[in-house]
């Protein structure tokens, strides 16, 4: 079938890359945005525009907050499908475990917990008899944040990055996982195909014809960020390894359960409740003791993760983990206390090498550390990935424009239309969502859901537009949709910045003067990207014109020689 190994690799690279490239584009772009998810949240939820807060006092602030926490309607509905009979009213369900999580970038605190239910499972082997509740709160007052105030960064862009918001049977995770696997394949096959990896490492010739310069850019963005691409695809797979290889819930379930019990014995953290009611000692005192121990180990820090199990039971315990602001791992150095008297049950020993490597690999992807330079470098890596994929699409189309006839013309038109949708269409949808976030009335019911809907509708509109404007592609010309969507994006991005000013009064002059970077940063990025979009639209206009002219004078699709050099 193939003359040599390299051709076989090229085939794999081209076709697998083409099919899953669209998914990878989403993963890379929204992954890049997720580097600053908390900052986008601040932009999108103006009442949370205040400084990051440490974990608040449990005894005075959080205790009453958890008293008000209820099982989430979404999880009530999902659990109802798994159990017999009706689940009792959420107000009557007892909270059995709880958590709170924060990082050095969070003004609001994420909290949640598990509520016990008396219902029997439909599937006897299903032993998860809980419904979950979760919320974001203002740690200064303990007030709950309305879910209609969608935190666009961490509640929408971030889950889109790893799950595509396809919840049915975790399909989104599987598709993104497959795409990540194909990404690894594309990296290996790409390196094999590339004849001059080192010789042309620094080569980008923007003045050559489109096909050549696009391939240069594809190689450049792929190769310089190769370690980034490799590690992020790999660690992304690793983070969800439990979903892709659910061994602890299938073949090895008895072993996994046994391990849990043995681990509880080894660590002294009870696996089961005792069934005897017990009060809760001061958690603030436990936090103070944990901090004292961290300081004694010469690594003072703040609480990142607080967890309590078997609430109100004599076997109850409190786990306090140090925020990983100064390390790659998310949290660590856990200290565990007996809930009823505050005595220390256990201080986690240093990690074994296997666990340390795992924490490093997942931590480097999830990045909860305090290192702004590395964050921006990650954005560069992510956007380099986007450019690499987008130029891959354009190269595919350009290469086939010269030998177009019949069926292949249709394929190429669709590839081009989908590429427009995946590149400029995705930007359009993102900007539309931000504009909707500022335009929808503050007290509107379903405000969050409507922001999401407008995101998807605008993306569909971008697809319809790209498909309807793709006819010139079949004649070897450039689709005007690229240019038109660049203009649309630029307009929406500027509109988002202006609307932020009009609706909140936080214009750039104010946010910059106050050094409030979360909002100033989002505004600046919107304006800069709008400027890039306008410049791109202008360059595209020139290239379109050149090709159309060549077509008019020669009467056939412009060949390479007819496209003059320009940048």
């Amino acid at each position: 079938m193939f003359a040599n190994f390299r051709q076989a690799m090229a085939w794999v690279h081209t076709w697998f890359g083409l099919v899953l490239g669209y998914v990878l584009m989403v993963a890379f772009f929204f992954g890049s945005l997720s580097v600053f998810d908390r900052e986008i949240d601040r932009w999108a939820v103006p009442e949370t525009r205040f400084a990051a807060q440490p974990m608040p006092s449990f005894d005075t602030v959080l205790k009453p907050v958890y008293d008000k926490l209820r099982a989430h309607p979404d999880d009530m509905a999902a659990t109802a499908l798994r159990v017999e009979g009706d689940i009792p009213h959420p107000d009557t369900l007892p909270l059995v475990s709880l958590y709170a999580y924060t990082t050095h970038r969070d003004p609001v605190l994420q909290i949640g917990g598990e509520f016990a239910i008396p219902n029997k499972p439909i599937d006897a082997s299903d032993d998860h008899q809980h419904v979950h509740g979760w919320a974001s709160i203002d740690p200064r007052s303990g007030a709950y944040l309305s879910e209609d105030k969608l935190q666009v960064g961490s509640d929408f862009f971030y889950p889109l990055h790893y799950g595509l918001h396809l919840h049915w049977k975790n399909l989104g995770y599987w598709i993104v996982g497959l795409a990540a696997l194909i990404m690894l394949v594309a990296l290996v096959t790409g390196v094999v195909m590339h004849r001059k990896l080192f010789k042309e490492l620094f080569t980008f010739r923007p003045h050559k014809r489109t096909q050549r310069s696009v391939l240069d850019l594809h190689n450049l963005t792929g190769v310089v960020a190769l370690p980034f691409h490799f590690f992020f695809a790999f660690t992304g797979l690793l983070i969800f390894a439990g979903i892709y290889f659910p061994l602890s819930q299938t073949a090895l379930e008895p072993l996994a359960k046994q391990h849990e019990v043995l681990q509880a014995e080894r660590t002294g953290l009870p696996h089961e409740p005792a069934g005897i009611a017990a009060p809760l000692a001061s958690v603030d005192a436990m936090v103070a003791e944990a901090k004292r121990r961290w300081a004694a180990r010469d690594m003072p820090g703040e609480v990142g993760y607080l967890y309590m199990d078997h609430l109100g039971d004599a076997n109850g315990y409190v786990s306090i983990f140090r925020a990983g602001s100064d390390q790659v791992a998310l949290v660590g150095q856990g200290v565990h206390f007996k809930a009823s008297n505050g005595g220390v049950l256990r201080e986690d020993p240093p990690l074994t090498p296997v666990f340390a490597v795992n924490e490093f690999l997942t931590g480097l992807h999830l990045q909860h550390f305090r290192h702004w330079l590395l964050r921006w470098l990650y954005v560069f890596g992510g956007l380099a990935g986007c450019v690499c994929i987008a130029t891959g699409f354009v190269f595919f189309v350009e290469k086939r424009k010269r030998q177009m006839a019949g069926q292949s013309a249709m394929l190429v038109r669709w590839v081009d239309a989908l590429a427009v949708t995946a590149v400029t269409g995705m930007l359009l949808a993102t900007a539309t969502m931000l504009v909707a976030n500022r335009l929808l009335p503050e007290d509107m019911v379903g405000r969050g859901v409507w922001q999401e809907r407008l995101f998807w509708y605008s993306w569909l509109a971008a697809l319809a537009h790209a498909a309807s404007r793709s006819a010139p592609v079949a004649r070897g010309l450039m689709s005007p949709a690229w240019r038109e969507q660049c203009w649309a994006y630029a307009a929406l991005a500027v509109a988002a910045v202006l609307l932020n000013w009009l609706t909140t009064g936080d214009h750039l002059g104010k946010t910059l003067a106050a050094s409030y970077w979360p909002v100033a940063g989002v505004d600046i990025c919107l304006l800069l990207s709008a400027a890039v979009a306008v410049r791109s639209a202008r360059l595209l206009r020139v290239r379109e014109g050149v090709r159309a002219q060549a077509l008019a004078t020669t009467g056939h699709a412009p060949l390479d020689a007819l496209e003059p050099a320009r940048g």
Partner: protein, 104 residues
């Protein structure tokens, strides 16, 4: 904090220099920057050595600024940005790189 910022800034500069010298050590880019002057064998060696040293210096500075696990990530990503920056400089402003090797 201020010291770490300074260290990382110098690390970034070293990383860019390293990439610039590696690029100049390739005859095609050398000619691009030096308007067609051929690259002498000795100069090429010198460029490669300078590039390697700058690369190591950059790593050492990263290690001074952060814990080793973090420093390794910062260093790798700095190399990526620097390589891209050098490539774009060669595309649009190749003569700027003449400053990186004023000699023949």
């Amino acid at each position: 904090m201020g010291e770490a910022v300074l260290l990382l800034l110098v690390a970034a500069i070293c990383s860019f220099c390293a990439m610039a010298w590696f690029a100049l050590a390739k005859p095609a880019h050398w000619r691009q920057v030096r308007r067609g002057t051929p690259l002498a064998h000795g100069t090429r060696r010198a460029l490669q050595v300078a590039g390697s040293l700058a690369l190591l210096l950059s790593l050492w500075l990263c290690l001074r600024a952060d814990a080793p696990s973090m420093a390794a990530l910062v260093w790798l990503m700095l190399l990526a940005v620097s390589a891209a920056a050098v490539a774009f400089t060669l595309s649009w402003r190749p003569h700027w790189l003449r400053l990186w090797w004023p000699g023949r």
